[in-house]
């Protein structure tokens, strides 16, 4: 059983008067330890697919199973619990909360838990991405782009979720910082996490195990990066 199973997912937006089909009958599976990139031009449906994988956006038809759990059969509150337990997100432009320090940003998924040692866990996650306690006390605006990216990754993994979803994680970063983020994602996959990254940049897919190309809401190619590569 794959960690992520997408079966016949269809997503439509709008009403009867103006209906847009974002995804047509998409089916795919992602295993633990696999590093996959979803690629496609703007408007192809790749971010919609990622939001469905992230238990945030119920499909119009089809199903998503994570670790065998039919996600969209759950209540919204249980879906929130599942996101916290199973999924770590790395957002486009990293989306750190600007008024929280780096370590507090990492503690964000833990803040609602009634347990001790939350700060220690956050510091540990930061240490794994090379951010020390002193830098952890700084606000995101006081960190470099690369450091912010590493904080975003630390936030995604602090709960030790089996799945990491990344939405254009290097889209707004310079090449060097982007490289650091991609290396971190690769390392996460190597350590057993299923990593799914949305990108439109072929250069970002150099290290991935698999490229899923989306075109007009359908999977047009699902193979290794060399087979499904799009010239940059």
């Amino acid at each position: 059983m794959a960690l992520i199973e997408v079966d016949g997912v269809r997503k439509e937006y709008g009403d009867a008067g103006c209906r847009v089909v974002a995804l047509h009958e998409v089916s795919l599976e992602v295993e633990a330890g696999e590093y996959a990139a979803i690629m496609g031009p703007s408007g192809s449906g790749k971010t919609t697919l990622l939001s469905i994988l992230g238990a945030m956006n119920p499909p119009t038809a089809g199903s998503l199973r994570i670790d065998g759990i039919d996600v969209y059969d759950l209540s919204q509150e249980r879906q929130a619990d599942l996101r916290r337990e199973y999924i770590g997100f790395v957002f486009q432009q990293l989306e750190l909360v600007p008024y929280l320090s780096a370590v507090e940003n990492v503690m964000l998924p833990l803040a609602i838990l009634k347990e001790r040692g939350k700060r220690e866990r956050a510091l540990e996650a930061l240490a794994r991405v090379g951010i020390d306690e002193q830098k952890g006390r700084r606000l995101p605006s006081e960190l470099s782009g690369g450091e912010q990216g590493r904080v975003a990754i630390a936030r995604a993994v602090v709960n030790d979720p089996p799945i990491i979803l990344a939405d254009e994680p290097v889209g707004s970063l310079d090449t060097s910082t982007g490289r650091q983020i991609l290396d971190q994602l690769r390392a996460l996959a190597d350590s057993g996490h299923a990593v799914v990254m949305v990108t439109h940049n072929p250069d970002s897919t150099a290290d991935v195990d698999r490229v899923i190309q989306i075109l007009d809401g359908s999977v047009s190619c699902d193979d290794g990066p060399k087979v499904c590569a799009i010239p940059s």
């Binding site: 919609t48 996101r83 600007p98 008024y99 507090e104 964000l108 833990l110 803040a111």
Partner: protein, 385 residues
Amino acid sequence: MRLSSIAFRNVRRHLWRSALVFVVIAAAVAVVTSLYLVTRSAERDLENKVDEYGANIVVVPRSEQLPLSYGGVQVGGLTYDVEPLHMSDIAVIRGIKNAENINLIAPKLVESAEIGGQRVLSVGVDWTSELSLKKWWTVVGTAPSGATDLLLGDRAARHLSLGPGDSVEVRGERFVVSGVLEPTGTQEDDLLFLDLGVAQRLWERPGEVSFFEVSAWCATCPIEDINAQISAEMPYARVSAVLKAAESRRILISQFRLFTLVLSALMVLVGCLIVLVSTLSSVRARRGEIGIFRAVGYRRQHIFKIILLENLALALLGGVVGLVVAAIVHAPMAKAVAQVRETVALSPGDLAIALAASLLVVLASSLYPAGRAAALSPTLAMKRV
């Protein structure tokens, strides 16, 4: 880090919005509490000063009267079935349900006296209660206090050609005119006042009373209630409420209370609207951030809590500052607006109620925006969905 940490950080981060909500809450609490205290002070002041306004209830014997006329010419009236009042009725009046609202009871015995061949209406009074009740009296000479003292009204003194220090005989006993009242413009100018016990003895009516003047005040019940209670206890007496200065002031205070209620309601309404609108606008500005919270696993109730905690923190802070302001300004305000001499202080109960009310009002006006925030989709964290 807990949800409250996120809420408090946000309060600090959005300083202008927080300052607006804080100022509105503080102002509303200060105004509403100050107005409440001013009204309470005015009522308390009225209770304390009610004796200065004179009696507002008169208790006289119940009697049946038959007007007599002959050939269309009025030839006087006949009063019958008169049951006199007694000093023991004081205890009856003091025994009513609202006894604590009885301020003073002034018994009187009215008789006709002859002094030097001139007839004058004499009134036996209890000096202490009478002088307390008639705060507007100005005595030329010495205020009477003893059994041999007499007090004369202005016209009575001139009619009898007597002044302070003069000695006079009434029904065979010698008295000294201790003082003469300055003109009051009422029937009191024609009267001779003497000690009630002495009057009862001289006219051989031991323990009898012609009527009682009662000074009563009740902030929470109309004077008619006290009137009715005395009537019920003394069916042999006729009890009449007298609309005097105290009643006029009571009406004025009631109107002021109504005004303060309307103004307070308006302040609370405006405060609610400002909290509602500013919170809605804050939620709108933080849609992306709330999306992130939802995406990392926050339930709707967690978002709800964060928004409520932010506003409740401001309500608590604003409430405390508003109460401090009210505690400072209400006294000069009460003196300026209601001319009260002593003001009511904020009690711990008032503090608790004011704080609880401000928290509840802010909570109520935050529920809708918090609900809107909680309903936001986690996909807002992903800008392009």
